[in-house]
């Protein structure tokens, strides 16, 4: 290999043999090829795990329809009452969220396609951004009440999850201190 022919990497030899080193210099690409391949370290999982078999919650890639990321909430046999309540609440809120956004996004894309098709029928080929704005505005206006209701519900549910998570955290900390001594 080329490395054996290179002079040692000390300062004096650097100065003396810089031209030879320059001549035998490998580019990034060739160096990467001759270097022994480092096996990359993988962190995480490729498939969603079972809830009982993991020791912490897992989050997955975004769902194609709702754009939300699914969670796998873990549990084991010494899960307290409150922790169980929190887990079930989280699962329920995540499911509700995913349902809402799946339906909402489906509606959005369908109505957008209808709008574009309608315009194409009327003769104009490509829709400018200003013309699309008409669609965006009507979509927002039509869904105003739905969005408002969703907003209020989401804020309340989020706050519930937060307070319960805080209570569970306090409980587990207290238990840890009780168990240690």
């Amino acid at each position: 290999m080329n490395r054996n022919s290179l002079p040692p990497r000390t300062i004096s030899s650097l100065l003396k043999h810089w031209s030879r080193r320059y001549a035998t210099e490998q580019t990034q690409a060739t160096h990467a090829q001759t270097r022994p391949k480092k096996s990359p370290v993988y962190v995480g999982l490729t498939q969603p795990p079972e809830a009982e078999s993991v020791s912490c919650d897992y989050i997955g890639p975004p769902d194609a329809k709702s754009n939300l990321r699914p969670y796998v909430r873990h549990y084991d046999e010494n899960e307290t009452e409150m922790a169980k309540k929190l887990r079930l609440l989280r699962i329920e809120v995540e499911k509700w969220n995913m349902d809402f956004w799946t339906k909402h996004n489906k509606r959005f894309y369908e109505e957008k396609d209808d709008f574009i098709r309608l315009h194409k029928l009327n003769g104009s080929e490509e829709l400018t951004a200003d013309q699309m704005s008409v669609f965006y505005k009507t979509f927002l206006d039509k869904n105003r009440r739905i969005h408002l209701m969703y907003n209020i519900s989401w804020y309340l549910k989020n706050f519930d999850m937060l307070t319960l998570a805080f209570a569970v955290h306090v409980q587990s900390t207290v238990n840890r201190f009780r168990r240690k001594p």
Binding site: D57, L68, H104, F108, K137, N158
Partner: protein
């Protein structure tokens, strides 16, 4: 419980440092169903090791993650709170607090402080800037906590830490509470009450008025502009102790700047905003969007000319800001005439340069530079009359007087 393993190739440096019971091992082979996120160059015998965050943080970190020459690949399903690189929790808090936006806010506060007609005190200056930064970080964290499902819909925000599960919501809100308390205490005890009140008001306005309003009416942009105009007022109040016409000019310029800045930013994101349910001018009233951008950029020019009249700067300021504001108005005019992604991006990018440049010009042309009033006169009065124990310092309103009245009077002796 564990998946069936056929052949294990264990990374030596990992096994010694991870408790075996807590490892989930999956053989990631080329024959497995490849998901979209799975890197294509998956070697046959590669192993995926799930390292939950609590192990990472509590025990020794696996050599691979600390060693930057090892390549780290993240698979689709990650343990929920996790750190995505070895630089630790600080980078996560930076992302949570929208660090670059917070720095811009702190710069405007520092500008407000430096422009105020009172002496510059390094201690209160530092407290004011740090306190404002912390309050802004808290506001941004609460905003991100509230908007998780909406952020996941928009491509600009879908990689935020709460959306990707790198931080739990409890931790984010905890960070916000600690940050807000520290920031507001710094402002109250280290600067003065007016600054703290403005900071608290701004925090409330941003988290509880602007954030819900984003989904209810387009008036949120006006509220958001007020939120942006308050930090320089905080800096001014921190130095001078009160607000006057000059402060209003500075706040007015910042209020007006928000419009071209935000309208240009939101112009390209109209489909995303519409699907996520945000009500922005760019979506519901594009004509108004263009008009306000132009109108307020002209207002910036007008206010800059007014600044010397209000005694904030000298008259050279009006001359120097003319080219800067003229170019800004020109870009806003171009955006008004032909609003497309090119003109909006140009306007947005220039607005990011325009604001710091304007602040620098303000500083360079400040009317009077106030230094600390002579302490010799104070000393003389004390020396001449030995019975006089305390001579209250004349100039800077230092909030520390509230906390340590004895020390201050002792020090002035």
């Amino acid at each position: 419980m564990f998946r069936r393993l056929s052949k294990l190739t264990i990374c030596d440096h990992l096994t010694t440092q991870i408790i075996p019971a807590q490892i989930n091992l999956i053989r990631c082979s080329a024959s497995a169903r490849p998901t979209d996120n799975c890197k294509s160059a998956v070697p046959l015998e590669a192993l995926s090791v799930a390292v939950p965050a609590h192990i990472l943080n509590n025990e020794q970190q696996p050599q691979a993650i600390r060693n930057p020459t090892k390549s780290l690949e993240f698979l689709p399903w990650m343990p929920s709170p996790y750190t995505s690189n070895a630089s630790g929790p600080l980078s996560q808090y930076k992302k949570l607090s929208k660090f670059r936006l917070t720095s811009l806010v702190v710069i405007t506060t520092m500008g407000g402080y430096a422009l105020a007609p009172a002496a510059f005190d390094l201690a209160t200056f530092a407290m004011c800037s740090l306190g404002t930064g912390l309050v802004s970080a808290a506001a941004n964290s609460i905003n991100q906590y509230h908007e998780v499902p909406f952020d996941s819909q928009m491509s600009r925000t879908k990689n935020r830490v709460l959306v990707t599960g790198q931080i739990t919501p409890l931790k984010a809100v905890g960070f916000a509470v600690v940050s807000a308390t520290t920031g507001l205490s710094m402002l109250y005890f280290g600067v003065n009450g007016l600054t703290a009140a403005l900071g608290a008001g701004n925090l409330f306005l941003y988290t509880s008025v602007y954030t819900p309003m984003k989904r209810m009416s387009i008036a949120n942009t006006w509220v958001g502009s007020i939120v942006g105009a308050i930090p320089p007022l905080m800096g001014w109040a921190g130095c001078a102790g009160s607000l006057d016409a000059g402060a209003m000019i500075l706040a007015g310029i910042l209020y007006a700047w928000q419009f071209p800045h935000f309208n240009a930013l939101s112009w390209n994101l109209r489909p995303d905003y519409s699907r996520a349910g945000y009500r922005m001018m760019a979506v519901t009233n594009p004509g108004l969007c263009r008009r306000t951008a132009l109108r307020y950029s002209v207002a910036i020019g007008a206010l800059s000319i007014l600044a010397p009249v209000a005694d904030v700067t000298n008259y050279w300021f009006a001359l120097e800001t003319l080219p800067l504001n003229a170019y800004f108005c020109y870009l806003a005019y171009k955006f008004h005439q032909k609003s497309d992604s090119g003109s909006s991006r140009k306007l947005f990018r220039f607005s990011l340069i325009h604001l710091p440049a304007l602040m620098l010009l303000f500083l360079a042309n400040k009317k009077h530079w106030y230094f600390k009033d002579d302490t010799e006169t104070n000393d003389e009065t004390v020396k001449s009359d030995k019975s006089l124990i305390s001579a209250l310092p004349k100039s800077t309103p230092s909030g520390l007087e509230k906390v340590l009245p004895v020390a201050v009077t002792e020090g002035s002796r």
